[in-house]
Symmetry: C2
Amino acid sequence: MAVYTQVSAEALSRFLTRFDAGELVSAKGIAEGVENSNYLVETTRDRFILTLYEKRVAAADLPFFMALLDHLADKGLPVPPAIKDRQGVEIHELEGRPACLIRFLPGVSVSHPTPAQAQAAAQAMGQMHAALADFTLERPNALGPEGWAPLAERCGKDLDAIAPGLRGDVQKAVDRVLTAWPAGLPRSAIHADLFPDNVLMLGDRVTGVIDFYFACTEVRAYDLAVMHGAWAFDGAGKRFDAEIGTAVINGYAGAFGLSDAERAALPVLAEGAALRFFLTRAWDWLNTPADAMVTRKDPLAYWRRLEFYAAHGSALFA
Amino acid sequence: MAVYTQVSAEALSRFLTRFDAGELVSAKGIAEGVENSNYLVETTRDRFILTLYEKRVAAADLPFFMALLDHLADKGLPVPPAIKDRQGVEIHELEGRPACLIRFLPGVSVSHPTPAQAQAAAQAMGQMHAALADFTLERPNALGPEGWAPLAERCGKDLDAIAPGLRGDVQKAVDRVLTAWPAGLPRSAIHADLFPDNVLMLGDRVTGVIDFYFACTEVRAYDLAVMHGAWAFDGAGKRFDAEIGTAVINGYAGAFGLSDAERAALPVLAEGAALRFFLTRAWDWLNTPADAMVTRKDPLAYWRRLEFYAAHGSALFA
C-alpha cells in the first residue's frame, strides 16, 4: 500500500518510448493494491497504471496473470490488461523490477456496496467465468485447501494469543472443512480475491475488475464463496446482510449459472474461504509488530464469518 | 508520503456535490507531499488533488497558505490554488480533517535537473517573488534562524552519534551563522522549500510550483539560498555542480533581480539554509527508529553543503 520502488521522471520518460503511448505529462505514486509499487501515469495520449512487482508477486507468475487479463479483455470484460510495446512485449524490467504498463480504468471502489452494486459485481464475476471456459493456462492456488493445515500449524500456539482456545478450534475447523471439501466440482481460472476494493464502479455499473494477483486454478464456485464472505458482512464479520448475500448469489447465477452440486457445496466452500482469509490474516497478525506502519487486519473478522457459515450455511444457500 | 486518512468513495462523492466540479469518476490515494493524505480525483469535468491535512500542517496556517496560492494563481503563476465551493469556501472538513480540493497541475518532478531546467525553476521563483511584492499576510518562519540554536540544543549530545565531534561543530556553526546573519535585507513571503520535488516540469518548462506548506515571511534571498543548496549538489552533498549553481542564480536574478547587498549575503544565507535542513534532518534521524518504514534522510548530506559554503561561499556568489 505504498510506493516501494521510486521511478525517476527521466527513467519513466525513457521507458515510455518503448510504447506507442505518447509522452509523459504526469506521474503520481499511488497507494494501491498488494505489495507492488504503482504509479498513475498520464501521457499526451492516455492514462495508464505503471506497476513494478515487488517481492509478493513472483515474476514467474506474471505470464499467467497477463495472459488471463488479455483473455478477459479480448472478450470485452472490463479488466486492465498490460499494454504491449512496439515489439509486442508486455512484461518489462524497470528499476530492477518486473514492470508492466497497464490500461487505466475509471471508477471507484465502494466501501458500502448496495444490493444493486453487489449484484452487478457478481454478474461481472459470472461473465468472467463464462469468458474463462476456454482459458487453458493453469496456476496452482498457493492459498488453497492443501495449504490450510500447514498454515494453521505454522501459526501454532500463538493462535491462543489472538483468542483463548482458538488454536484447538482452528484445528477442528480445518479438519471439518477439509473432510467435507467437495470433489468433482468444475474447476476454472478464478479471481480468488474479489473484495469490493477490487471492483471499480460508477454508480451501479462495473467499470473495472482489478488486482488479479491471487488468480489461480481452483474450484470455480469457490470464487463466489470468497466474494460472498467479502461483500455480505460488515468489516468485523459481526453483521450479515442477507440482501447483499442474495444479490451476490442471484447476480452470479443469473449471469453464469450455478449447478445444484455447486449450490449444495456453497456452505463448505464459504467456510473454506473464511478459513483462508482467517489464516493468512492470523499469520500476518502474529508476524507484524503492533507498532508497524502497516495496518494489521483483524483475523477474527474472518473467524466470525466461518462460525456464521458453520451455523447458518445450509439454510443460507438452499 | 502515504495515505493516512481513508476517504470512502461515498464520502468523496458527497463532498464533491459542494462544488461545481462534476461527478466522481476515479480517486487514487497518492504518495506525495509532506505528511498529508492526498488523492488524485477525476470527475466528469476535470482532475483535482484532494488534500486532507494531518498533524504536520496546522489548521490555523491554512488560510495563509491558501491566500498565498490564490494571490500567485491570480497573477498567472503555475501554482495549485484551492477550488472554491459554491459558497466561496476553500477550506473544508472531511473525515475529521481540514481538507481542500486543489487544482491539478500537469508535469513531473525531475530527479536530475539540467542547467536549463534549474534556470527555468529559478526564474519561476523570481516571478513568484515579484508577484508577492504586494502580498501582505505574514507567517513566522518556524524553522528560521531563531529556531536553530534551540533545535541544536534539543538534538544535544546525540549529534555525536551521527558523527564524532559533530555536536561541538554544530554549535560553532550556529554561532558563526547567527553572528553573520544579515540585517535589513528585504523580507517577503517565500516558498522556503523549493527542492526539485516541488517543481513540476514538462521538458524545460515549469508547469507547477507545489507544496507551499513551509511558506513563511522571511529574508527574501533566503529562498534562493535554499534553492541553491537543494538543486546544485548531488543528494549526498558531496558534489557541487557549478553549472547548475550558476543557472539558479542567473535564472532568479534575470527574472527578479538580486541586489548587491543580497548577493553579498548569499554565502551566509546558504550556510543558514544548509544548517536548517541539517538540523531538521538530524532531529528526525535521531527520533526515527532505524527500522521504521519512513526513509530517514541523511543529515550529513546537508552538513557537507554547509562546509562547502563555509569554504567556498565568498568565491561562489561573487
